[in-house]
Symmetry: none
Subunit: 230 residues, 2 copies
Amino acid sequence: MSRSDTPLVLVVDDEPAQRALLSYNLEAAGFRVATASDGEEALLVVSEEAPDVILLDWMLPRVSGIEVCRQLKAQRGGADAAIIMVSARSDESDRVRGLETGADDYITKPYSVNELLARVRANLRRVRPARAGQVLDVGDLTLDPEAHRVHRSGAELHLGPTEFRLLSALMEKPGRVWTREALLDRVWGRDIYVDTRTVDVHIGRLRKALMAQGGDDPIRTVRGAGYSLD
Amino acid sequence: MSRSDTPLVLVVDDEPAQRALLSYNLEAAGFRVATASDGEEALLVVSEEAPDVILLDWMLPRVSGIEVCRQLKAQRGGADAAIIMVSARSDESDRVRGLETGADDYITKPYSVNELLARVRANLRRVRPARAGQVLDVGDLTLDPEAHRVHRSGAELHLGPTEFRLLSALMEKPGRVWTREALLDRVWGRDIYVDTRTVDVHIGRLRKALMAQGGDDPIRTVRGAGYSLD
DNA sequence: GCATTCTGTGACGGTTCGGTGACAGAGGTC
DNA sequence: GACCTCTGTCACCGAACCGTCACAGAATGC
């Protein structure tokens, strides 16, 4: 099955030891993990990989966590993710400020691993409600993962396995622009190496299939960035 | 004994001891049992194995049973199962909340094994009347589990035992795509090891039998995924 | 305008996947 | 024992699918 079923958690912390610890625990719990050591990197990862949950350290070098949080929320794609602020201070005012800035949740050190995982799962549920098995609906497109069927305005379309997974990924966050790398990761799996141009070809094939029975091209090419479904 | 005729009960409880106890009692009563220790796992099992009854502990770690229940009901496949909430509290408000969330029944600890089994059977009858000897009907196909007979457009077909079980499994959720692994699990049993290609061969034999007296092939092959009955 | 970069797409070789006939073994029946 | 049915595995073939490339055309920058 495709990787895209496993939720992605982004850990933003400047301490390598903290990142390693969090990654370890999260991966042990079955999540995919991406890391970033500062706000800039975090923004990059968010635009590339569209994480589902972001664990954001309050005390970051150069740019404060709050600022990063604000930017993440402002950035397209970041708005889809749940942001959990991690802070050493249990100060109430910090908490309020964090949540005001757009954080979805707030957790103070020291915390237990279970507590952390609980927060991540809880936010994940909110952000990505029970995706498995749910019928996806975007515009005149309908994708039923369980029956493995795709319809456009009622008419059934025939897609190959890769096109099917590609369309699932695109339909999960309509409007979002996916880089080729992100799509490779989600549709092909992160350990497989294939050329990024392969994505182009499959997007082409997907377009052909989607327009086989008429209708506009629902896939938008963003030059220099990637593709999105509208 | 035909595997797919045996109802599947999913036990969701975070306590290993509870799971073991319930499994033991349910299996002794002739049910097949699957277990899950949290909501996430439960959702997975539901989408993979399509249980008939779900015994859901109210007090789950991290995610409350209510939340899990809501998600199960929302998920395709979960809606077909009866959900019985198991709670330590006999509180009336809890009961109401549970039922409001979509639970089909409610049982409070302490309960006797007989009481538990009675509830499971009662809900099973409601949810899967086929158990009571009711025939399965899909398109022009009719399968009578009790009489062990299959008809297509009135004409009786001859199926071997494995083909019969295979068809029962497929007919239980028409349209749903079953992976070879899921079918092996359901038709052959989870402890038996046979090659997944064996499924192909039996699908072939089943098709042959189904089309012996004319008619289209009712089984759809989904490349890279599995089979489904339409 | 021109040069450059990026994208769409047809073609192609190679691979994987699924259908099927053949076969040997297990188990049951007479 | 002699049949018969059913089962799981294998080998083979054809079809579907995949990844890459080359080239043309579009978009962008200067």
